[in-house]
């Protein structure tokens, strides 16, 4: 964030309270979306650690994977999954606002753009599920 502006005498400069994000439902939803990033970041670190353990050999990987099945980690994974879904859904819903898609002279309706992202998400998820469950 940038620095404060110079203040002119005589004017009253309001200060935002620390609880500003509770003032409107839209602010709360925004803050939850920001918070989801923390959980996703932790999960990505966990994933990198797992990759590192794979490099150290099957036993090191198996030990770490077993530790990640403890109740505490399971709760974290459930919360991280919920936040990842929240982040993904809210972000995909915004694609209709951000991305203008044109077909020739016609503008694709934002709802269709959003639907396209959800369809693509579903297809990729199903492919990964198939690859994980059937192929392996």
């Amino acid at each position: 964030m940038s620095e404060a502006r110079p203040q002119r005498p005589g004017l009253y400069y309001p200060k935002m309270p620390l609880t500003w994000w509770l003032a409107r439902p839209g602010y709360v939803r925004f803050m939850i979306r920001e918070l989801t990033s923390v959980f996703i970041a932790i999960f990505l670190v966990e994933l990198l650690v797992l990759v590192h353990k794979v490099g150290q050999g099957p036993q090191a990987y198996a030990d770490t994977a077993a530790r990640l099945q403890s109740p505490g980690w399971m709760v974290f994974h459930v919360v991280a999954l919920a936040f990842a879904l929240y982040h993904t859904i809210t972000w995909f819903k915004l694609t209709g606002v951000v991305q203008v898609v044109r077909l020739g002279d016609h503008k694709v309706p934002p709802a269709l753009v959003v639907a396209g992202t959800f369809v693509a998400w579903g297809v990729v998820s199903l492919f990964i599920l198939y690859w994980l469950l059937v192929r392996s």
Partner: protein, 249 residues
């Protein structure tokens, strides 16, 4: 029969006298066809002539009567008392702006930002009048039309927590207007506006809270303009990296 009334809790601030704003309550007649601005005019005409606020057209066009009504940025000329019945109704100056007096905020910062983004058609070379007007297709008009509806009421700034926390942020309306002209097929000023939009307090300061678009009384979507400007800026940067000899628009 006693006339029904509704209470307005109005922020008062006298520069040079008050260290900070205070609240004063006024009881005004409750009329279903009155808007908050009518109630303020009643107070000024009948109760306290020193109450200070801006207004002009009373029909949602001039954009000068924006205030916080129950904590939400609103044009008070279109905020009906009946929607807040039985009250009380809290009327405060627009959030995030310095207060000059009572409900009047300083426009200086916004006007300076507006000027910086050059919200007018820029041509490299004007064509002679004899060659006729600059024609546009309906699709070209559609690219920028909604953003041209901005009336500079600054409600979007009052709803933007980023502007409240970082007042140097160019802000929703100014960026929406810059985008409006960048998207206009008659305009050739993209290169002149781009440095302002791409600076650290330009589009990249926005964290996409989205409330600017929610409160806009004219259906403009400044959040979309900002995010689309980010996409355009990122494409521009990528092209300048891939084709340094002239890939930018």
């Amino acid at each position: 029969m006693t006339e029904e009334t509704i209470t307005l809790e109005v922020t008062r601030y006298r520069p040079g006298h008050d260290r900070e704003p205070r609240t004063e309550s006024f009881s005004v007649p409750y009329r279903k066809d009155w808007v908050v601005l009518d109630a303020l005019n009643h107070i000024k005409d009948r109760v306290d002539g020193s109450l200070t606020y801006r207004w002009s057209c009373r029909m949602g066009v001039c954009g000068s009567c924006g205030m916080m009504v129950n904590g939400v940025p609103k044009l008070t000329c279109s905020a009906f008392l009946r929607d807040y019945h039985p009250g009380p109704i809290r009327v405060e100056p627009l959030a995030n702006f310095p207060v000059i007096r009572d409900l009047v905020v300083s426009l200086d910062d916004f006007m300076e930002k507006l000027r910086r983004v050059k919200p007018w058609l820029i041509r490299t070379v004007e064509k002679p009048v004899s060659e006729g007007e600059y024609r546009q297709t309906p699709a070209q008009l559609d690219d920028y039309k909604q953003f041209s509806m901005c009336i500079n009421c600054m409600l979007c700034y009052a709803a933007c927590p980023v502007y409240g926390l970082a007042p140097a942020f160019v802000g929703p309306a100014a960026i929406a207007l810059a985008y409006r002209y960048n998207m206009d097929s008659r305009d050739e000023g993209y290169r002149l506006r781009e440095p302002i939009l791409s600076e650290s307090v330009g589009v990249w300061e926005c964290t996409f809270v989205g409330e600017c678009s929610v409160v806009c009384p004219k259906g403009v979507d400044p959040a979309a303009a900002i995010q689309r400007s980010k996409v355009a800026g990122a494409k521009d940067w990528a092209m300048s990296m891939l084709m340094p000899w002239g890939g930018r628009r």
